[in-house]
Structure formats: C-alpha cells, structure tokens
Symmetry: C2
Subunit: 345 residues, 2 copies
C-alpha cells in the first residue's frame, strides 16, 4: 500500500500526524478515555439510559437516539433531523457508531470530545430544546432513580451536573463500536472476506487518492491529538462542477462558522467510511440519496475525476465491506417519576 504517497500527502497538508498505513482494522476496544472520565460498567449503563431518555428534551419527544439510532445505522437516515416542535436541523445527523475514534465531533469539529459533543444537542433549540444546562440538570434531579445512580457513580457532592450527564453519555458512546467488518477481517488475514469487486474497489480508492484522507481506524483520518480535527475542504473542485448547485454543496460555510477564518470556509471534518453504506442520505446537506451518487460526487469534487460506472460499483462494493458487526445490546429501563410527569403541559 502506498504508505509513502499517503505520508507525503499528510505532510503536504502541514499536519504533524503520525504516518500510518491507509487501511487499518478497527480496534475491538474503546479508545483512550479522558483522564477525568474513566469508563465503568455503571457509568455506561447510566449513559445508555440518558441516551434514550426523551425527558432531556423540553417537550419529552426527542432523545439522543431519535437522530442517532443505535438500533440501526446510528443516524436517522433523513436529509436533516426533526427536533422538538417539528423543527428541522441544519445538517445531516452523523453516525454515532465508532464516533469514539473520530478526531473531533460535529461536521465542523466544534467539539473536541464526545463529552463536549453530548452537551450540544440538548440545548440546541432545533434539537432537544432545553433552555439551559440548569434546566436539564433539574429534569434529571427530579427523577429519583437517576439521583441514586449519579450519586453512586459521581459521588454524593453535587452528583447531577450537566458535565456528569455528558460524561455518562460519552462513556456509553465509547462502547458503540462495530468491529469485524469484511474489510477488517480481510486486513487481519481472511483472504475470502471480500468479493472481487470489493477488492478492486479497495485498490481503486488508494489509486485515485481517496485514502489520502480516508485512512485510520475510522477511515476518517490519521490518529491526531485530542481535539485536533482532521479537516478537508469540500468541494475542492468547485468550478464547472454540476454537483455544487444540484446538491447545494456550498450553501453552508462549514468550519468557518466556528472559527470565522477565511481559510476555514467549506472545511469539514473528514467523515468516516465505517458503515457508510447504511448512513444514506449523504453529506452535510443529506442531499445525495444513494451511495453510488455520493461516490461520483466525491470523485468529481475532491479529485476532479469522473468515474466510470464499473469503477463506482467497485468502490461501492468496497465501502459495503466496511459495514461492521453491531453489538447485541440490552434495552435500558428508564427510571420513572411515580404519580406525576415531568413533561410540561
């Protein structure tokens, strides 16, 4: 594999990243956790409850899982999500599966960690719509079963805080890994794990340059220091690119909205390829309904290439080989508030 070419590309981008092979299997264990949020079984169980609890939204209709459905692709398979009051989000919901291995969170990388990410949607007026972190804490404090669990996990002094809510959710999310995809099995030595088409696609994505960015355990970039995102401009080839207008690729400034630096206009965190076959529709717009069209758009927009149909089919076959094994989970049972409801009338 073109390690040298890949390293050259990374170095050309001025990134101080360790240089790795383009293809690497997904670890079966959680990545390193922040020092102040060690993973424990009890914390993961609490985080799973919170992840599914709609009482963290203002009107009791939206949970984390509403848009990042872990019974499926970790997305909602909609162009953009629907939040409280029927409001629509601005960008397509990325998958939560393997998000633990992403360099930064959100399309524009505005959260350094899963903990930081978890704090966003709860307070976003078009997502879960809680008016403040204090309100979210009050909701949880009103549920006796949660208070007991927070005390056991975070101690008796001020156990229910917004920070702890986010830490528990992040601890659960770190368990959401899908190892052992056909590509992983192939990389570990199973020569029969991939079809001929998928193998041709695997060669093709290296040959044409996709893996300059789509590398690392998540195929979303090399290992980076925490919070240092792996970003790329999209589209690079915007001129005479019919997809720009057709799919509204440049209506959103991307990372510029976070930094207000001109250099960050239309920069996006490189997206994971893992389970990409399951996460249609595609791109920050959710405007591209199929994976084959997404491959055409990427080749044209990032590499200036117009692929033939058989080349697209091979790449799609390879990408389908990155659909992993989804762990069997138990369903959480949410602590209740006997004799009353917390949802506003």
């Amino acid at each position: 594999m073109k390690k040298t070419a890949f390293c050259a590309a990374i170095l050309a981008m001025g990134l101080a990243a360790s240089c790795a092979w383009a293809f690497e299997p997904l670890p079966t264990t959680s990545p390193e956790t922040p020092a102040d949020n060690p993973t424990t079984e009890a914390k993961v169980a609490l985080g799973k409850q919170l992840y599914f609890d709609k009482r963290l939204s203002i009107d009791g209709t939206v949970s984390c899982n509403s848009c990042h459905n872990v019974m499926g692709s970790g997305t909602d398979n909609r162009p953009v999500s629907v939040g409280v009051g029927g409001k629509h989000g601005g960008r397509n919901a990325p998958t939560v599966w393997n998000a633990a291995y992403l360099s930064v969170q959100f399309w524009d990388g505005r959260a350094a960690t899963l903990e930081d990410q978890a704090k966003g949607p709860i307070l976003n007026p078009v997502e879960m719509g809680m008016p403040s972190a204090a309100e979210a804490e009050n909701r949880i404090r009103a549920i006796p079963g949660y208070v007991t669990a927070f005390q056991q996990i975070f101690g008796k002094t001020n156990p229910v805080t917004y920070e702890h809510i986010a830490q528990a959710i992040a601890a659960y999310e770190r368990t959401l890994l899908t190892p052992n995809s056909p590509v992983d099995r192939y990389l570990k030595g199973d020569q029969n794990a991939l079809s001929d088409a998928a193998l041709r696609g695997m060669k093709r994505v290296e040959q044409i340059g996709c893996t300059a960015c789509h590398t690392g355990p998540d195929f979303a970039g090399p290992a980076m220091p925490v919070g240092q995102g792996f970003f790329q401009k999209f589209p690079i080839y915007a001129e005479n690119n019919p997809y720009v207008a057709k799919y509204r690729l440049m209506d959103d400034d991307g990372r510029y909205a976070v930094t207000h630096q001109d250099a960050d206009k239309h920069l996006w965190r490189v997206q994971t390829w893992r389970n990409v076959a399951l996460t249609a529709p595609y791109f920050h717009t959710g405007s591209v309904p199929t994976l084959d069209e997404a491959v055409r758009v990427m080749a044209r927009s990032q590499l200036g290439l117009t692929l033939k149909d058989d080349e697209v089919a091979d790449i799609v076959a390879f990408l389908n080989g990155l659909t992993g094994e989804f762990p069997q989970q138990t369903m959480p049972s949410l602590p209740q508030t006997p004799n009353r409801t917390l949802t506003p009338q």
Copy 2:
C-alpha cells in the same frame, strides 16, 4: 371482598360477563391469542423490530415506541402525543403494557384486538402518517431483511401484507406484561408486600365502589368476549362538578364518535390501573398532571364523592402497589437498506 355487590353492579349494567372477584393477580403468561395469529418466538422478534421502526412513518420520525415507550411506562407521559410534522394527537396515549388483557383497544374501543389496533396509528395522519396500507407494505418490502423474516414466518406467498405487519406487532405486544407487582404478591399470599397505607387504600377502593369497574386481571373490567368492550360513562356526575370545565372532561364525545349512538356519548373503555402511577398525565385529555388529582377527579366524577386528603393518599399508595415488574428486553437491531434511504427527501 364484596363479590356480591360487584356482581350486582355488573348485572345492573346488563352485561353478560362472568362474575369474578374484584382483585385478581396478573397472569405471568400471554392471554389467549387469536386462532389466526399464534405467537412464535420469530414473530415476536419481528414484531419488536417493527414496533421500533420509524420507517413505518411517512417521514421516518415516529415508531409505535415513540408514543408507547416500553423503556418506561408504555406511554410518552405527555398530555397528547406528537406525531409526524409536529402534529398533536387528540387523546392521551394509553400504555401498551398489559394491553393484551384489555377487552378492546383505544380509548373508545374502536379496535377489537391488538392486531386491529396496530393498523390504526400507522395510517393516522397526525401519528405516523402513511398514506395507505399499500405504502406501508411497500416500505417494508423494500427492506431485504424484513422480506426474509416475513417469508420465514408467514410463508412465501405474499408474505409482507399490512395484516401480517399488524399480526407481528400484536404478537410482540402480547409479551408486554408486568406481573409480580406488590398487589399481585399480596394476593398470592405475601402479607408484607403492601404498606399499611396501601392496604387501607385497597379496602377503600372496594368500599367506595371503584372496583365495580376496576376489576379483572388489568383492573380494567371483567373478562369479556373478544371485542366486547367494558365501557363506562365519564363523568357520570357532571353537574356542579368543577373538574368538568377545569380539565375539559366533556369536550370529547368518546365512544359516540365510533357508533354515533346517543347512548355512547362520553362512554370510554375503562382504563387499566396497572402501572397507573407511571402513566401521568391522566384521562383521555391528559389534562390532569398528578395521580392524587386523578383520584379526586374520579371519586367526584364517577361516585359523587369528595375524598379527604388521607383517603386520597391511601388510594394513591394502593395504586402504586400495582406497578409491576418490567421484563428486561434485548434491543432490536433493525434490518437496513444498504446504499440508500427509504425516507423521502
């Protein structure tokens, strides 16, 4: 227990029901299944997937579980539910737990069986909003994993039908039982299962007449032939009843909307007491936020009684004794549609 008084009440209502004791434990097994829908493990597993699958709604945002949340009370604990497009339902969502033991389904009893009930919300424009049964079938037929499962369960000839979708969901719902509540344990001989307050409340509900209607395994009426609902007028005592205006108790005609018979005005299926402590807010309006207030409203509206605070507290303690054991469930994994989404753009 006042079996004689209870029987007299039943007979006075002209109902050809078998006469039973007012208090009876919940069976730990599913009730009799329809002859054409025997329960099998595979069908229950399929039904659970469908129950959680938002692709049965027009825009991919609402599943059965959205309003009847089996991670909690089997309701959404909202006054009325929110369906597709942020639309609000007309009546409070009843719990799905132990619904298998109800005489009929829906507040107005318009469905005779769980199978019939399951067909309603999918096509209701303010709930899941599918335009037709054929559209719902087409959604499921487009998901290869479902087609395989339907073939295995319902045979190769026309496996995916709306009827079969409803049968699978109903088969899953028949497993949603919460046995072994403190009251059940008390009825089976555990003298320590209930507090003194709960025991006083248990006597009180018989003494004042609540158990004329709230009897049987679900405390929602005696065993009846399938589809023959156990209905009651609500409110019976409407004159000079301040709750009628305060909680909009008579704005909805109830069963009249189904039959258009004057005698059915403000008739409602008798609601279950099981897990009632968890299903706030109360009544078809969802307008009563707490259980103690619901007890006051019922005593005043059905029995013409104004209860003292300690009587209310005792009855609330008894009703809390009907919170059952919620079975640990596995989380379903929903079959996917690689390379595309079924949700409209």
